[in-house]
Symmetry: C2
Subunit: 112 residues, 2 copies
């Protein structure tokens, strides 16, 4: 499962959830964190990530803070108040979706 595709629609929620947990992260860090947490299963491409971050910022869900570390640029993102509230909604939606999928593909899972 070298480069498993990311199911469309879940990227934004993943970003929000990670920022909710970690407080603040920069783009590259997010890609590495996802790779690590999923044991290489999910690979976030930069072509998807950076536009997504910009859009979440434009929507007022994220704030940016630029930093320079080792003479290299980093853009730290963190949730705004609205972002924190929205994270709750999107997580609930994604969890509902996951439960629905489990109902469909493996009814036994959902009983316990």
């Amino acid at each position: 499962m070298a480069n498993a595709k990311l199911y469309k629609g879940s990227l934004n929620t993943i970003i929000l959830k990670l920022l909710d947990e970690e407080g603040k992260m920069y783009g590259y860090e997010i890609t590495q964190k996802v790779k690590q947490l999923t044991k290489g299963e999910l690979q976030i491409t930069e072509g998807a990530l950076y536009p997504a971050l910009h859009k979440l910022e434009a929507e007022g869900l994220l704030d940016v803070e630029v930093a320079k570390v080792d003479n290299r640029l980093r853009k730290y993102y963190k949730l705004t108040d609205r972002g924190t509230k929205e994270t709750v909604n999107r997580l609930a939606e994604l969890e509902d979706f996951i439960r629905s999928m489990q109902q469909l593909i493996n009814p036994k899972w959902s009983i316990q």
Copy 2:
């Protein structure tokens, strides 16, 4: 959660899995079955379903059989041999994806 969106990429796998379980189904029946199994959570739109069925058929994963019931047309779909094999792969992929998502959004889930 009136009309929860379907995360893109999962529709084909849902179709294949249902056909694997039920043997044969027609389009409208699939939409109703998904609605029932997910308690209305997931709504498959016809604009997504029919093109998906046609594509799976064109790929050689489904066979079609036309029937007339109560003077109304029904197109029953069932898995071909290749379709049955492919269902195994796609289900495994989707299950991997779901596990990855659980790692990301709720690490505790995956331990159990």
